[in-house]
Structures are given as C-alpha cells and as structure tokens.
C-alpha cells in the first residue's frame, strides 16, 4: 500500500458506513442488549457466593457446556459467571458481524463489478480494502467500548469490564483480518464467505476441543484467548496484544495477495467447465440444487465435524441426569447438554435456509429469475424449488447433526444414549418456521429478502433476554424454538411439533400466494 493507492479511502469509508448503518446498529444493539441483560441479572440469579460456586462447578463439570462456552477459571468472580455465554459463544456473533461487513465491501463489491466502477474514478487500488478495514477497526473498538460500558454500568468490576470489552474488540479485529484474507482466495463471494465461516468454525472447535482436552489447542485459537485473558481476575493484559498482532499479520498477508492478483480474480484461477449442460439440469429444482451444491457440501462437513466433536465430549448422560440437584442447576443455565447444543445448532442451521432464500432474492434482483420465468417454468415451480432446497437442506443438516452427535457419543462413551435422531428431528419444525418467515419476506419483494436474516437472531434474543429479564410467557412463546421439547431429556411433544409444522405450512402458503401475484424484479 502507498499513499496513491489509498486515495479516496476516507470517502469510501463514509459510503460504507452509510450503507451499513442498519445492519451495524441492529447487530450492535442486540449484542449490547445481551451484555446488559446478562450483567444486570447475574446478581439476582446468583445472590450469594455459595450459589455462584455451585453454579460454576456444575458448569465446569460438564464438558459439553465447557465446549460450548469455555471454562470458568475463577469460581468467585461474579463477572466471569455473568459473562459465561458472552466470552466465547457470543464473541462468535461479533466475529460474524465483522466478517459480513468486511466481505461486503471487498469481494462482494468486486464480484458485482462495482469495484471496477469505483476504481475508474480517482480512488486508489487499495482504497476499498483500506476503507473496509478502517470501518472494521472503528466498529470493533466501538463494540468493545459499549460492552465495557454496559458491564460497568450494571455494577460489574470496572477493570474487568474494560478487559472484557477489549477481548470483544480483539475478536472483532481478528475476524476482520480473517475476512480480508479469505476475500482474496476466490473470485466467488460465496466461496470466500464459506472460507471465512469455515475458519471461524475451525477456531471455535479447536478451542472447544482444547478446553475439554489438550489445553494447548485452546491457545491456538483467538476464542481460546478470550477465556485465557482472565478478564475478571488476575487479568493477563499482555495477551490482549495478541489480537491486534494476529489481525495485522492477516491483513498484511491479504495486502500482499491482493497486490499479486488481478481485480475480480481469485488466487485459484477459474477452470474451464463443461461446454454442455447435463441433461439432468433441466428444471428449477435441479438448478437450485446445482447452485447450492457447494454450500450444502460445506455445511454438511461443518455440521458433521461439530456433531462428532460435541458428541464425543458429552459425558455419560444418564449418570448426570440421575443426580437431581445438578439437573436443576443446569436447567437454569439453559437446558440439558445435548438439547442445549441442539438448541444453538438448530438456530445456526436455520441460517442455511435463510441463505437459500436470500440467494433467490438476489437471483431476482440480478435478473436471472426473469430469464427463468420467461421459459415454461411457472412461478410456483420457481418458488417451490427454493423452498424445497431451504426446508430439505435444513432437515437434512439437523438429521445429520443428530447422527453425528450419536456417532461421537458412542465412540467416546459407548452406547447408552437416547434417540439423538429424534432429538435433532424435534428442532426441524421450528427451523422450518424460521425458513418460512424468510420466504415470506422474500415474497413481499426482493428488496425485503434481507429481513429474513433477522428472524433466527431475533428469536434467540427473545428467548435469552426474555428469560433473563423474566418477561411474560407470551414474549418467550413468540420464538418457535421455545416450543421445542428438550429431547432426549424431555419426551417428544406431538402437539408442539405438529403446531410448529402447521404454522410453517401456513406461512409458506401465504408467501406462495403473494409471490404468484406480485411483480417480478
């Protein structure tokens, strides 16, 4: 980078910020709400030291919870207990926000040709990347600062609040570096997104395995550092330097790679493909499957690995469920082990459906839908193909998760676990409701498709914040995931499952009816 290749960075940063104002404001708002709700209710949830220590032991004794949230290093710290879920798990959402923002202004712009348009003006070659990174650094620091303020305002230790804010900001910086680097890999924005998400998943799993097994593995992952910083007592302030250092290295490598490739190309040159289409590629569903094939494979690999890992670190389930005292505590903290894992995973897998629907929205905005609808493909077929892939893919991924959990569990602890396939299937109707809502947003108009991304996050926010703030029952019930029985700890619940499936079907019919009647484009 040099001064001339950076010309226009300031201007581009302002444009980027303007385009991101909604996504940044809502995402930051939700994360901050989580922080404040968790910090404010810790005092009432754990009124004395004895409850706290017991809760911490219950948490630390459960490898599944440790794998999900990371261990609690100081049982006496109320701050650390209050921030259990936020230190590692919600830091993943911080990372996701930064990846979305950086990728959106680098590879997505390049693929759409807008970078070329901008590059033709008095804007330097490195300016788009630099502008995205300036925004990312500002966003990370703001997010960290707000988290620190929120914690301190709720009465948690001030130094600890600052350290916690710093580790969130650090996570953001590293994620921005990962996004900058992965955006150089492929000419396809989707492939780059898969690389970024895959990297986050690997780092998260590395930490999960390290926290429950060989500890050095945790030190290889920035998510592991989040716990090891020890924000709330005996803080390792020096470790906070590791985040910007790693981010700088990632950005440095990204810049070098960027300088050695042409605009619009990836590191891997695009290979020529078949000159003729396969005879099977002859209807809307085949097209949708072909378009999403890579995504389905990548999701399947991710879900499979995650399932086996979590299954393997789940302890002898029956023993734990027998000791009643412990069961109470764990229930208080968010459900039973496998059900807890599935409750998080089902929300994440719902996002697969959202990506499929979002892609259909982009097809329409780009003009591919109109080309297909100008053939004998009817609107119902086109809509149906997207819905089948979204719903079918979600169901497949959950089923796969159930099987993978079972394989991991049986491999590590031997037989004796309940029906994990049923446990996973229990979440399918709820995930379908989310998918149907995304389809409904799309059916209003292609520009509304983006609203589909809100639902899974909104539902999980309802649940967590609602529970912490003891909101009325009906607020919690707004989330479809709230109605899912915690199989295998609880029995299968036919009325709830059927109800969710019916709701999903009704929403889909409404969406289909609306899509058939509206203008395309």
């Amino acid at each position: 980078m040099s001064a001339s290749t950076l010309t226009g960075t300031g201007l581009l940063t302002r444009v980027d910020l303007r385009r991101d104002r909604v996504v940044i404001a809502s995402w930051t708002g939700v994360l901050l709400l989580m922080v404040v709700a968790s910090a404010a209710t810790a005092g009432t949830l754990y009124p004395d030291e004895a409850t706290r220590v017991r809760a911490v032991h219950a948490l630390n004794d459960s490898p599944a919870i440790v794998a999900l949230y990371g261990p609690i290093l100081d049982p006496n710290s109320i701050g650390e207990l209050a921030m259990t879920k936020l230190t590692v798990l919600y830091a993943v959402f911080v990372a996701m926000l930064l990846i979305v923002v950086v990728r959106r202004h680098t590879r997505v712009e390049e693929e759409s040709g807008r970078t070329e348009l901008v590059g033709g003006t008095a804007v330097g070659r490195d300016a788009p990347l630099a502008a995205a990174l300036v925004e990312a650094v500002g966003l990370s620091l703001t997010l960290g600062g707000l988290a620190a303020l929120g914690n301190a305002a709720c009465g948690l230790d001030v130094a600890g609040s600052v350290a916690f804010g710093a580790l969130w900001a650090g996570t953001g910086l590293v994620a921005a570096g990962i996004a900058a680097l992965t955006s150089q890999i492929s000419a396809s924005a989707r492939t780059c997104a898969a690389w970024a998400a895959g990297t986050i998943a690997v780092l998260y799993v590395l930490r999960a395995v390290g926290d429950t097994g060989p500890q050095w593995l945790s030190w290889l992952s920035p998510f592991g550092w989040n716990t090891q910083v020890r924000a709330w007592s005996g803080t390792r302030w020096w470790l906070l330097l590791a985040y910007p250092a790693l981010a700088a290295v990632l950005v440095g490598v990204a810049t070098v790679l960027r300088a050695h490739r042409d605009l619009g190309s990836g590191l891997v040159a695009a290979r020529p493909g078949p000159a003729e289409g396969s005879p099977r590629l002859a209807d809307a569903l085949a097209l949708a499957l072909k378009v999403h094939a890579t995504a389905i494979v990548l999701w399947s690999v991710g879900v499979g690995v995650l399932g086996v890992v979590f299954g393997a670190i789940t302890p002898g389930l029956s023993d734990l469920l027998d000791s009643l005292g412990m069961q109470d505590l764990i229930a208080k903290l968010g459900g039973y082990f496998l059900a807890a894992i599935l409750s998080v995973v089902s929300v994440v897998i719902s996002y697969f459906a959202v990506t499929v629907v979002a892609h259909t929205g982009r097809d329409e905005e780009d003009g591919r839908t109109e080309v297909v609808l100008a053939t004998t493909t009817s609107r119902s077929r086109w809509f149906g193909a997207s819905v089948v892939v979204a719903l079918g893919g979600t169901a497949w991924l959950l089923v796969e998760m159930g099987i993978a959990l079972w394989i991991g569990y049986v491999a590590a602890s031997g037989p004796g676990v309940g029906n994990l396939l049923a446990a996973a299937l229990a979440w399918v109707p709820a995930a379908w409701v989310t998918a149907a809502l995304a389809a409904l947003c799309f059916s209003v108009g292609p520009r509304w498709t983006a609203v589909g991304w809100v639902w899974p996050g909104a539902f999980i926010t309802f649940e967590i914040v609602g529970e912490l703030l003891e909101a009325p029952r009906w607020v919690l019930d707004l989330s479809p995931y709230q109605h899912v029985p915690a199989v295998p700890a609880e029995p299968w619940d036919w009325p709830a499952e059927t109800g969710l499936a019916v709701v999903a079907a009704l929403i889909l019919v409404l969406a289909w009816w609306r899509f058939r009647a509206r203008d395309i484009g």
Binding site: A275, R368, E370, L373, A374, T375
Partner: protein, 303 residues
C-alpha cells in the same frame, strides 16, 4: 390474428405511470421495431408481455393467450433476451444455454453449434468471467437455437461489436423467413432500419407513431438539393416547402411528402441541372418525437 396486441395498456409503479395507454399490434411473420430512449417503457411493455409484471389496466393478448394467466404455457412458444443478461456465476455459458433451452422445451443442437461458432463464444467459461457482450451472446444463442414462434428481444445488441451485430441481423432475418415473429426493442436506429418491417415509436409509456418505415416517412419531409438552370422565382412560396435556402444557382429545401410532385414540377419548369432527393432517415423520424428533449438549451425530461 395478431401475435401481440395491447390496447390502452397501463402499468403504474407507485405514482409513476410507466405505461400510459399503450397500443401495440404485431401481426405474425413481422419484425416489429420498438423504438424509444431509456425509460420510455420498452422493457416494461416486454415484461408485461412475459407475465413478469401485472398490468394495471387495458387489454393485452399474446400468441392468443393472456400473458399473465397462461404465462408458462405461452412461454414454450417464445424466447426472450433481456438487455442486461445476468448469468449464474458457477454455471458455464454452455450449461446456461442448455438449461434455458431445456426449460423452454429443447433446442436444435446443430444450430447451437453453428451459433457458438458464428458468435465466437467459448461455452466452457463460467458465468462470472464473461464480459457483458459475451453474456448477451449466451442469451442470444439460447434464444436463436430454440424452435419458437416469437422472439422478444430487449435491446439485444447493446454489448455486441459490429461484426457480431451482423451475425445477429442475419439470424433474425433467417428466423423471419422461417415464419417467426419478432418484437425488437432498440435504440440502434440502423439496426431497426435494416431489419424491421414496421416500427412503433414509444414515448412516456405511449406509442406516438406506428407503421411501416414508408408510412412514417410519409409523415415527414424529403430533403431536396438541386442546381437549377434559372432563378428559383416563386419556389419558396409553394405550399409544403420549408427551410428554403438559395446559394447562387444551388437551392436546398425540405418538402412535405404530398407536395413532392408539385415541387419537382416547379423545378422542372425552371430547369434541373443536378438533383439529389433524400428520404427522411429514421433519426429524423425519431427526432420529430424526441427533438424537444435533445435540443440544446432545453432541460432533459425527468424520467
């Protein structure tokens, strides 16, 4: 029965009337030029004909059916090429051609191969690496290789170089000889002039002029450039003569179509040394309807 027939077609986008009582008739076997600048309503009309947009008023029939209700069935008999072609990033050009043709009901493999060669298109490249012109060629090959009755072409040559435009013209011509009907929206006047049997000029969502080129020329003036044997006395006063200009024995003027005979008669009486008569070009026809927008000093119309 006409292949395309709209009467008083209205389409609103919010408060904007994109189509404001559009009348368009395209009989079978005709190449119909659809002329107008960007934003006049050409694409909106085609998208209503494709059943992508729902009309807000008026009548519309296409291939004997209702384009909204019978969309899928009618589409078996037509092919559409949009002005801005967007392909699937991970499908090759060849895959996209075959996909579109199969979604429509198949193509002629011999003609596909021939078109690929004539258009000089590499079908093994992925959608994202094609230039605008090459994306357009993919859509054109898919359309021209299909056996259909009607082509709806929305500014199909904007990304093509002149050589490729030549190939395009040739194939559209062949398509007509096989009995096909074409609605060709364009603002490339030369292309329309070469190909089209009839043209409709659209402005602000209305057809302001429609007919054969000969019909339309009839409504305008012929330019005469003549060197005379004697003084052009009384010529300027003749009815139907405009922009009269004398330069020694050379006289230039414009004459309305139904005054040509009278004017030539008068010239003949004076004595003609040389005579050049030029029919109005399509540009001039076009300018008659849009001249106010491009005349210097006048503000462009907001659309």
């Amino acid at each position: 029965m006409a292949v395309i027939e709209t009467r008083g077609l209205v389409k609103r986008f919010g408060r904007v009337r994109a189509l404001d009582g559009l009348d368009l008739v395209v009989p079978p076997g005709e190449i119909h030029g659809f002329l107008g600048p960007n934003g006049a309503g050409k694409s909106t009309t085609i998208r209503v004909l494709l059943g992508l947009l729902r009309k807000d008023g008026g009548e519309v029939r296409m291939l004997g059916g209702d384009p909204w209700r019978d969309a899928a069935a009618l589409h078996r008999r037509l092919a559409y090429v949009p002005g801005e072609v967007s392909l699937w990033p991970n499908l090759t050009g060849g895959e996209a051609i075959d996909l579109l043709a199969r979604l429509r009901g198949g193509l002629d493999p011999k003609r596909r191969a021939e078109l690929l060669e004539r258009f000089d298109l590499d079908p093994t490249k992925r959608g994202r690496s094609y230039s605008k012109g090459n994306r357009q060629k993919v859509a054109l090959v898919a359309a021209l290789a299909s056996d259909v009755e009607l082509l709806l072409l929305d500014e199909p040559t904007t990304g093509l170089d002149p050589l490729m435009e030549e190939v395009f013209t040739e194939y559209v011509d062949t398509f007509r000889h096989r009995g096909g009907t074409v609605l060709l929206s364009s603002h490339v006047l030369a292309e329309v002039e070469r190909l089209c049997d009839r043209v409709s000029i659209i402005r602000n969502g209305k057809v302001v002029e429609s007919g054969t080129l000969a019909d339309l020329r009839h409504l305008t003036r012929t330019s005469i450039d003549v060197v005379l044997a004697g003084p052009p006395d009384g010529l300027a006063q003749l009815e139907g003569i405009h922009d009269f200009d004398v330069d020694g024995d050379r006289v230039r003027f414009q004459v309305e179509t139904d005054a040509v005979d009278r004017a030539i008669g008068a010239l003949h009486r004076i004595g003609i040394r040389t005579l050049i008569a030029q029919p109005p070009t399509l540009e001039e026809l076009f300018l008659r309807h849009y001249g106010d927008r491009i005349r210097p000093g006048s503000a462009p119309e907001a659309e």
